[in-house]
């Protein structure tokens, strides 16, 4: 009965114990070494793959800002190096629009005052330059020139010279002389724009307001 019950059991501790006492084989050392070497190599490979990319250099984050600052500085320098003439001259389209008007208008017509909105930074620059270049011109002439320059702006030197010549030809010598003084105050080389026919008269017009 006891033997029958023992046979019915799925396992037997005495057999297990005998088995373990008898079975002690281990894998050969070279097999152990190969397996452990493969395991270590796999870990090293993983470590290399997981290694993070080197951190960016400290100055690298400033590169975009430095580049932007460089571009801005270079642009500023280029603007500063541009010739000032083109700033002093009115835009070509305005010249073109004014020239026919000056030709068609009567010679005695004073220059039309531009609307207030037309007074721009460019005009301020022009008036500043004119003051600076006026040199030894009398204060009254300078003030008149300044007023005239603002009023006459943006008349070109050629148109201005033509108008003076027209006043001279019409016999209004006083008005022509006043215009000439204002013209000279605005343009140091004003006489060069005058037609040959009036240069003799212009030479008789003094810079101090006396004919």
């Amino acid at each position: 009965m006891t033997e029958q019950r023992r046979d019915d059991r799925a396992t037997d501790a005495s057999v297990d114990a005998a088995w373990r006492r008898a079975a002690g084989e281990q894998p050969p050392a070279e097999v152990d070494a190969a397996i452990l070497a493969a395991a270590r190599a796999a870990v090293r490979r993983d470590a290399q793959e997981r290694r993070p990319a080197p951190p960016p250099r400290r100055w690298a984050s400033w590169q975009p800002l430095a580049a932007a600052a460089g571009v801005i500085g270079l642009s500023f320098l280029l603007v500063q190096m541009l010739p000032r003439d083109h700033l002093a001259r009115p835009p070509a389209n305005q010249d073109a629009s004014r020239a026919p008007a000056a030709e068609s208008a009567p010679a005695i017509t004073p220059p039309a005052a531009p609307p207030e909105a037309a007074v721009t930074d460019e005009a301020a620059i022009m008036s500043g330059e004119r003051e600076a270049t006026a040199g030894a011109a009398p204060r009254t002439a300078l003030e008149a020139a300044a007023k005239q320059s603002v009023a006459a702006r943006p008349e070109s030197p050629a148109a201005w010279a033509s108008r003076i010549a027209a006043l001279h030809d019409a016999g209004d010598l006083a008005a022509a002389a006043a215009e000439l003084r204002a013209f000279r105050a605005a343009y140091p080389d004003a006489d060069d724009y005058l037609p040959e026919a009036v240069r003799g008269w212009a030479a008789s017009v003094g810079h101090d307001g006396t004919p």
Partner: protein, 212 residues
Amino acid sequence: MTYIAVSAGRADTARRMTPADTGSAGESDESLMLAYARGDATAFERLYARHKGPTYRYFLRHTSDRGAADELHQDVWLKVVAARERYVAEARFTTWLYTLARHRLVDHWRARRGSRFTSLDDDGDAERPADGDAPANHADPLGLVIDAQAGHRLQRALTEVPAAQRDAFLLHVEAGLSLGEIAALAGVPAETIKSRLRYAYRRLRAALEDLQ
């Protein structure tokens, strides 16, 4: 050194306890495998030291061929290394390890078409004689002789046990798997495994009868 814990009257709870299970090593197989997956090579060394004997003997007892056992043992552990990042500790590490081992063994038999073994599910197969390995060391000379004789007889008897029964026995006694775990691994009902174990133990017990 491993320990067997067998609960009285319930064979399906029988389980080999590793030092980790008893707490003496402080780390479970699963935590060691996960540590290895994170790059701790020493964790693998401890895990391998813990399981290399049982896996090697599993193959040796099935093949009775040291060369084949060397090759299969190495292949399985290299698969463990290769699968380290895919390992998920959902089941016992041992179950996962012997699933790999069992598949590798079946592949081995399939590759050797001249072999009589093509399946671990065939309860009627028998194997060629064992080559008789050396028994474990023993302090008592008389005990050494008895153990050596017992070892030879058990190994010889095991070769005469059908492959499926032998597999169930080795998974139980070497891998320390429970009846339920062996059944899940083999894909058969627990009652089938219980029956296979019962037949295997009966044959092995008969081989030891005149020594007791």
